[in-house]
Subunit: 347 residues, 2 copies
């Protein structure tokens, strides 16, 4: 199991320039580094797979958001799964599979003083495979789980609508809503995604917003109005759903992928006064706040997976970190089908 | 005390046409009616004073909101204070002072089957005068009280910001925030209103948004950020306050007077993603939901008035229902200073 670190080359993708609008090739710089042996208390992780997340676009902007931006010249931040290949830390052994934020690089060297706040955690592949650990058992799953249950507070019999329904967070929200006894209605782009959401994931309905019938679809499929709207997209879709909310509805603001690459101002929800009329609430959430409760959520979700009550769909892109810029582009085009994962190394 | 009803003429203001943008003279029609003796179980109320409220603009639009619109040809809806001048209802005697929704007319005849759902309630002038019963003891007071306490949930030491600070709801929100141990910062239009808000009402600070220094003012006066924002105005002011909210902030959506006379689309809050970053909440409220708790709120507020801990400022317009269209115009110009009240008859 011992790896000769001196023989390795760490291929990396660094942020070269902040994007205006959609990220382009010119925003990235490829680099190579040697992999040093860890100091006492440190370790080295080989990246197996990286998670592609809409939030990445925000990390590329200047200015502090819920976490600091990626600095120019830094390795791009990314969550992922890896294998420990060298360790002088008592909590991790060579061969352990771990989740964390390796960044877009093949090897992640963690200095002793960084281990505690690196978010590094051992994962159990008996609960799910690498893809599932980046999807329903990972950040998107946690986001959907806590966003729906803690912020959306759905009650059995209520109607839950989620945008980006075929995406990583959307999969969790709709499937969990069904498990909790709700009506689950998805919004997704394209007939194929909608079929998947209904036929494979078991949503009650899915509306293809690209077909231009969102308003009619909501009227048809949410006959009793909308009690919880889990919003991943913002823009026109948020505006339209606001016209159908029920009294005391909860709108979970998880993201706004339609707005992230805007070069102009963000489009605010023009129908926000529906909140007033309906005594409704719009509330933002950031998954990190629930970190202390991840283990219980993971245990519950792993149980749903084993029992066949829940599915986890990933869209794997092969080819390693060199394809990261392309992968990010696919994400913002909505070209992915399920959680987009970049494979970096064989298991 | 007996009034000869047959001798009376009821002057009324009816909705003649739905406005586009600001209401104009052509939206109104004046009418006169006789006043009939009440049927068994009914009563007649003489209007003493009417409340001018931003919400009136919404009632003039077609389409159901939180209450049905005023129909074309109907007497315009308005809250007010009156005196019972004829009663065949066991719960009300001639001479009783009452609050309710007389509409813009001099006499309000309430049919037996309408009394229960008319919102008619006897009021005690020992707790406050007619103006105060339309202000801090009335709907605006209740709106500020329950909106701040139940939706805003301020904690001692936190910073509460309220727009329309010199207006009816704003007065209550800021004064109550101070009583609850918060820092109270108002936003109002003009130096005179701001002086009143600070010097008379006891807010910690007031920012004159017409002076164009809202952003700087918030930075200066909300050094620890904004924990509760009580929004009566929407538009640019809401957008700007959103840039200063704290983690877990609560934004109470009470109204959006800046948007009510828009002929185009409502301007949605472009900075609504501040809710996400800050795990904050934006929530609408409608005062009627708290009706069961009005008595306890009125008792508390009357106590604050008697003890000199709270003030109630009204802007009286004399001249009766004929001046209603003008009064409404003053409200939307922001020309009023304190709660705008139209005097209809002497006490």
């Amino acid at each position: 199991m011992t790896t000769d670190l001196a023989s390795l080359v760490n291929h990396q993708v660094r942020l070269a320039a902040r994007p205006v609008g959609l990220p382009a090739a010119s925003n990235w710089r490829f680099s190579e580094e040697a992999v040093a042996a860890p100091a006492e208390g440190g370790l080295v992780v080989k990246t197996l797979a990286l998670s592609l997340d809409p939030a990445m676009r925000g990390w590329m902007n200047e200015g502090r958001s819920y976490i600091p931006p990626v600095e120019l010249g830094e390795v791009m931040r990314a969550g992922g799964i890896g294998r420990v290949i060298a360790s002088r830390h008592p909590g991790f052994a060579v061969g352990d599979t771990v989740s964390g934020a390796p960044g877009v690089q093949e090897y992640w060297s963690i200095a002793p003083e960084q281990v505690a706040r690196s978010g590094l955690a051992r994962i159990d592949l008996a609960l799910g495979d690498v893809g599932q650990w980046l999807n329903v058992l990972g950040m998107p799953g946690m986001t959907g789980y806590f966003g729906l249950l803690d912020v959306g507070k759905p009650e059995a019999g209520q109607t839950v609508v989620v945008s980006g329904a075929a995406g990583a967070v959307g999969q969790m929200v709709g499937q969990l809503a069904k498990i909790k006894g709700c009506r689950a209605v998805g919004i997704a782009g394209g007939a194929e995604k909608c079929r998947f959401v209904v036929d494979e994931l078991g949503f009650d309905a899915c509306i293809d917003y690209k077909a231009g019938q969102l308003r009619e679809g909501l009227r048809e499929h949410c006959g009793n109005g909308v009690d919880v709207y889990f919003d991943n997209v913002g823009g026109e879709i948020l505006d339209t759903v606001l016209t159908r909310i029920n009294r005391h509805a909860r709108i979970v603001i998880c993201g706004a992928i339609s707005q992230y690459n805007n070069t102009g101002a963000v489009q605010g929800p023009r129908n926000y006064l529906a909140l007033l009329v309906n005594r409704a609430r719009m509330e933002g959430m950031v998954v990190f706040d629930y970190a202390a409760r991840y283990p219980q959520a993971i245990a519950e979700i792993a149980g749903h997976l084993k029992a066949g009550r829940m599915k986890s769909r990933e869209d794997w892109l092969e080819g390693g970190v060199a394809r990261f810029p392309e992968a990010l582009g696919r994400l913002f085009e909505g070209a992915n089908f399920g959680k987009l994962v970049l494979k970096v190394a064989d298991d």
